[in-house]
């Protein structure tokens, strides 16, 4: 599957605090020659949300799972279980799925390298990457992993991608203002298209 399947499932929080990280992940995925997929792309109320997520996972050859926000929230004193659940679905698809599903590959990211052992110790033995809550480190880790997966030597390094992302990020408010939109109102489809068009314009 990974040789021809370029779809990457992004499993991370979608709240405003994480938005910059999410935008960085999508940028790195597209810049590395892959296609970004996530639960936000499904906008069909007739379909169950979990079913949508399972369908997207089934179609993706790769997965990026950031479990760094699995921590008790101050209001309910409970952690968010969505990310570990979706990681579990991804690993189960690889374990029990048909031949194509067994070729799935994924990267698991956390704030600290061994923090997961306190709340999801069953995945011990997997190589967990740490971004220490820093955007630059997240981009570098992801770029290195995706370059390794694609085996394309021409994919740039993480530091260059981080610089490109910073200059791309500056164009978002200007593009939105031309349509009388606030950047928070962008849909996942809008953002992906923005990244694609920005890279197309700057590549020319």
């Amino acid at each position: 599957m990974p040789a021809t399947n370029r779809d990457v499932f992004i499993n991370c929080p979608f709240d405003p605090e994480y938005k910059n990280f999410f935008y960085a992940i999508v940028f790195v995925v597209i810049r590395s020659g892959f296609r970004a997929r996530c639960a936000l792309e499904a906008d069909d109320a007739s379909q169950n949300r979990f079913e949508k997520i399972c369908n997207i996972i089934a179609e993706c050859g790769y997965g990026i799972h950031d479990i760094s926000r699995t921590e008790p929230d101050p209001r309910h004193n409970l952690p968010r279980f969505n990310m570990p659940l979706e990681l579990g679905v991804f690993l189960a698809a690889k374990r029990f799925g048909i031949r194509a599903q067994k070729l799935k590959r994924c990267i698991v990211l956390d704030k600290q390298r061994y923090r997961y052992q306190t709340f999801i110790s069953d995945i011990a033995g997997q190589d967990i990457h740490s971004h220490e809550g820093k955007q630059q480190l997240l981009i570098e880790e992801l770029a290195a992993w995706l370059r390794n997966q694609s085996r394309l030597r021409n994919v740039p390094g993480g530091r260059k991608m981080a610089r490109e992302f910073v200059s791309f990020r500056r164009t978002i408010p200007r593009v939105c203002s031309q349509r009388n939109l606030h950047p928070d109102e962008l849909t996942f489809g809008d953002y992906v298209e923005m990244v694609v068009e920005y890279l197309a314009v700057t590549a020319a």
Partner: protein, 84 residues
Amino acid sequence: MAKRKITETSGRDGTLVVKKMAKKRARVAAGSRPSNKAARTTGRYEVAAVTRDGVRILRGKVRPKHFTSKQIRKAIESSLSAKA
């Protein structure tokens, strides 16, 4: 054994054979090869651009809601030229 003559009505529904033969004739005339599995798999991605370093930028699965691709490109171009 005598060769079975395939007529336009030899298919179960009468039109099936004609359709299949027409498709094959069109394919031969166009000089294209029949599609294979690999071609179909790679064909599901739309390459929007190739960067200077040779990376193929793939278009997303979902379309933008608030803009068209053209509008986004124009806005980015004008934003970049204003910056320069």
